[in-house]
């Protein structure tokens, strides 16, 4: 079967060969049984997310709380704000869609229900899907993202459907903080507001978290970083949820734009800078291994993380399909073969990494490169316009940059930086366009802290602007595996003596 999007990752691109650097360490602190369950999970493992596919179905429109960063009304097909979808599916359509995708994409391993409202505020629709899928595709892992308000009430039902991964969004453990994030909840037939609402929500979230971990269900906690509201408080959140058994705490940046019509957007609440986000992620990682590859993926995305194949499975095609046409039993056999092969490959990579103390990239060129970086050299952050593990994108086409840290001990994946795509296409790509320029400025601001940006190509104007702001553009490694390219640039910097100096002062920004 030809799978254009996935084919080159499975063949072993750069990201796949060196596995995004930190993955084995990031999992090192976990108990063996949890590590075994997480290490090949496409949502949680940095290694596995390059190989497996996952999808979300939008079947849960209702919600039972209001968050100040959300506006149910102004959803938009172009944005990637979590929980926003353009196409609501009935449970029946969702089941056909999942089975069709799982038959066409044997890498498919996870189905999530994550929105556009709260899955547990839509229990009948949500559990109908889980029930049917556990029956017809028992190998597909099921997961659920929730605000936690109804968790205690549904923990037993969740356990019955064998849903072993639950994500709870927990933004605070202090009701006073919560009152600045949640204007109201719907609770016991009333709309409850203010500190009281936050107190109830927090209580239910914490109880739900405890009940899930007590039943051996994996729990990830997501937090939205809201500067001036919960930024410092999130360190406390991280400690508390870890103590209660959450295996991962993922800090995501607030997205607040006036055009989304959210409370925060309209009231001028600031979003975190890339540096603020990284500081928090680092602080929380001190408590709990934190894998930073989690995208703010749309709740109806199909495919490998970051790759949206939704267009191949539109409502028209799904509606034309009947369950009888899907041979889900032989699809499951095929999936087992593909999954086993992927897991073997991941095992081999882990094994291979255990042996050399030197990063493989360095080792390979060490002979011709006596000037290989010595341990005294400072680390450097580099942004990469990458796809499927290789340096693949035009600077102006990148919707996000992958940030890597290169140091004498190797290359490590740090996180994502989103951009407002500044080059929207030939027709809008006029020179000197003021609006476009400001997007370029924003992109450059998003890359703050990085000293190099790697891309396949870059225009003349952004080149100049990048250099002027102290970021060196580099288009010489197009289509090379990301880690190899980053290490090569690092070695060039080392050879030209640039790494002996302290980092440029703008790095502290």
């Amino acid at each position: 079967m030809e799978l254009p999007v996935i084919a080159n990752t499975a063949a072993g691109g750069g990201c796949s060969t060196s596995g995004c650097g930190t993955a084995p360490d990031a999992l090192g602190h976990l108990p063996d049984d949890i590590r075994a369950r997480v290490q090949d999970h496409p949502c949680y493992s940095e290694e596995a997310h390059h190989y497996f596919a996952r999808m979300h179905v939008a079947v849960a429109p209702a919600c039972n709380i209001q968050c100040n960063y959300c506006n149910r009304k102004y959803d938009c097909a172009n944005e990637s704000r979590p929980g926003v979808v353009s196409e609501l599916l009935s449970p029946d359509q969702a089941i056909r869609k999942v089975l069709a995708v799982a038959a066409a994409i044997p890498q498919m391993s996870v189905l999530g229900v994550a929105g556009p409202g709260d899955p547990l505020a839509n229990p009948a629709r949500t559990f109908e899907i889980f029930r049917q899928l556990s029956e017809r595709a028992p190998d597909i892992k099921l997961c659920l993202s929730t605000n936690g308000l109804k968790l205690p009430m549904y923990v037993d039902e969740i356990a019955r459907h064998n849903i072993d991964h639950v994500t709870i969004t927990i933004n605070c453990v202090d009701p006073e903080v919560g009152a600045m994030i949640y204007p109201w909840i719907f609770w016991q037939n009333r709309r409850v507001r203010g500190v009281e609402a936050a107190r109830i929500l927090i209580e239910q979230q914490q109880k739900g978290l405890e009940m899930l971990t007590a039943r051996g269900i994996l729990v990830k906690v997501n937090s939205v970083l809201i500067p001036g509201v919960n930024d410092q408080h999130l360190k406390e959140v991280s400690k508390v949820v870890k103590a209660k058994g959450a295996f991962l705490h993922n800090v995501m940046p607030l997205i607040a734009e006036a055009e989304h019509g959210t409370y925060y957007g309209l009231m001028g609440q600031a979003s975190p800078t890339a540096a603020q986000l990284q500081e928090l992620q680092d602080a929380c990682a001190g408590d709990m291994a934190m894998m930073r590859h989690c995208r703010q993926c749309r709740a109806d995305a199909v495919g490998i993380l970051g790759e949206d194949r939704g267009a191949e499975f539109t409502m028209d095609r799904i509606d034309a399909l009947t369950l009888a046409e899907i041979d889900y039993e032989s699809a499951m056999v095929r999936r087992k073969e593909v999954h086993d092969a992927i897991i073997d490959q991941l095992d081999q990579q882990r094994e291979a990494r255990r042996i050399p103390p030197m990063p493989p990239v360095l080792g390979a060129v060490a002979d011709e490169m006596p000037a290989a970086p010595r341990p005294t050299l400072r680390p450097v952050l580099m942004a990469v316009a990458g796809k499927n593990g290789v340096v693949a994108e035009h600077f102006g086409h990148a919707r996000e940059f992958l940030v890597y840290e290169a140091s004498p001990t190797g290359v490590r994946f740090i996180g994502h930086r989103k951009t407002d795509l500044y080059c929207a296409g030939i027709e809008t790509c006029g020179e000197g366009d003021a609006a476009q320029e400001s997007v370029l400025d924003k992109t450059i601001a998003a890359l703050s802290g990085c000293e190099v940006v790697l891309c396949s190509r870059i225009g003349f104007e952004p080149w100049g602007k990048l250099e002027a702001s102290g970021i060196v553009p580099n288009g010489e490694h197009a289509m090379e595996p990301i880690e190899d390219a980053v290490m090569a640039v690092y070695q060039e910097m080392a050879a030209s003596g640039k790494l002996a100096d302290p980092a440029p002062s703008r790095k502290a920004a």
């Binding site: 429109p61 209702a62 009304k73 037939n189 009333r190 709309r191 006036a258 409370y263």
Partner: protein, 92 residues
């Protein structure tokens, strides 16, 4: 006596799921309340359930056309700000 849903509704299903009288149904272009079934929740709940969960301001009105959740009442965004951004037309 019955409540009504206005064209501000965004079809999120929340009200339909909580109505004790099964009075709310999906319709085109938006959910509608069956006035023969709606009791305004009297006898069942202290608050009309649809209006207590609906996330959209101005989506539910009473027989006099009065909003159960007027602009600004759910989000806390000042009405002046909503008007400034073209999200509310002004005096209602």
């Amino acid at each position: 006596m019955a409540l009504q849903i206005t064209d501000a509704c965004l079809n999120c299903w929340a009200c339909a799921d909580v109505c004790p009288n099964d009075a709310i149904a999906l319709a085109d272009p938006h959910f509608l309340i069956d006035e023969r079934k709606c009791t305004e929740c009297l006898g069942d709940h202290a608050e009309p359930q649809c209006a207590a969960i609906c996330p959209i301001e101005a989506a539910i009105v009473d027989e006099l056309g009065v909003y159960l959740n007027p602009p600004g009442s759910l989000t806390g965004i000042p009405v002046a700000r909503l008007v400034e951004f073209g999200l509310w037309k002004g005096a209602a």
